[in-house]
């Protein structure tokens, strides 16, 4: 009986988390400035590291809090959430594009390394989980509570990009060697 109620509570919690993550994703789409290009159009572009530090840092929030104006604090929270969620969506899109490109390249490759493929898949799963957790945390508590997770997601996405580049370079070398 106890096991069943625990299972139900766990399932409800999981559904709640998924719903919140989807809400966050939809929210970031609604909040995005219509005058700017969408993250979907801009998914492959690289975001500078100092930008991520700025969005997820506490400094700007501390500065606004010291002003003692609740309306400005609310505006700041809303705007910073919007930027952070947009960055998460952009990062997640970039990771998915990389994975799709890698899958296409892997299908054509005749010398797949099993360990490397497992490592790329693990990095993909970890990146997507980090993005989902970030989206959830930003919705609940704001971006300033998850700077480490944001940096982790960014490091993972960059590492994935490098691994994919190395894979493509190696595939090209092997193809050139085979045809020579």
């Amino acid at each position: 009986m106890m096991d069943l109620s625990g299972l139900i509570a766990g399932a409800v919690l999981l559904l709640l988390l998924i719903a919140l993550a989807i809400k966050g994703w939809l929210h970031s789409r609604e909040l995005q400035d219509p005058a700017l290009p969408t993250a979907d159009e801009d998914g492959a572009s690289i975001c500078p590291e100092e930008f991520v530090s700025r969005v997820f840092s506490r400094d700007d929030g501390d500065f606004v809090r010291k002003l003692g104006a609740s309306d400005i604090e609310r505006l700041f929270q809303k705007e910073r959430r919007k930027v952070a969620l947009l960055w998460v969506r952009q990062t997640s899109l970039m990771i998915r594009k990389l994975m799709a490109a890698h899958a296409r390249a892997a299908r054509q490759s005749q010398n797949l390394e099993f360990a490397m493929e497992i490592s790329i898949l693990a990095q993909f799963v970890a990146s997507m989980a980090a993005c989902a957790a970030l989206s959830f945390a930003i919705q609940i508590a704001g971006p300033s509570v998850v700077p480490s997770l944001a940096q982790f997601a960014q490091r993972l996405s960059r590492r994935m990009a490098k691994v994919h580049e190395a894979f493509e370079a190696s595939a090209l070398t092997k193809t050139a060697g085979g045809t020579a």
Binding site: D42, D59, D60, F63
Partner: protein, 149 residues
């Protein structure tokens, strides 16, 4: 990423731009607005009479674009506090009353045209958001000053 046709000449034009024009413009925000104003809305090409006269028009265009991107990178990475200071200095340097300038910035959002082409969308959104907040902070500050006076 901008790849200049002739890096040496573009570098010279860039130095000339910094020395003759940008050094007279106070603050990165003012420089950003100034550089964006040298860009044609229809073509996206930059033009500066003096620079084009001393160098080639294409070289001048590339130097202006480079300066625009670099200035945007600096202001985009600035803290909110720094941006408020930049905006205050920009507003104070205007011939109009500071309240009028802020009201126009709040309503018309002219800073949107200050974004360089092909800038990362999240970075652009951070800049737009930060300027919006900086305008609200300065409006509140001046409102308090009026009430205290």
């Amino acid at each position: 990423m901008l790849v200049p046709d002739n890096p040496v000449t573009v570098g010279q034009a860039y130095d000339d731009l910094l020395r003759r024009s940008l050094s007279r413009v106070g603050g990165d925000l003012a420089r950003l607005i100034y550089l964006a104003s040298t860009r044609d809305y229809n073509t996206g090409k930059y033009h500066h009479d003096g620079l084009a006269a001393r160098f080639d028009a294409d070289v001048a265009c590339q130097a202006l674009e480079l300066a625009h991107r670099e200035t945007f990178q600096r202001i985009g990475a600035a803290s909110l506090e720094q941006l408020v200071d930049e905006l205050e200095s920009y507003v104070n340097s205007s011939q109009q009353s500071r309240e009028d300038v802020l009201r126009a910035w709040q309503k018309l959002e002219p800073y949107r045209v200050a974004l360089p082409a092909d800038v990362n969308v999240a970075v652009a959104q951070l800049f737009v958001s930060n300027v919006k907040i900086a305008v609200a902070i300065l409006q509140r500050r001046y409102q308090r000053e009026r009430l205290e006076a």
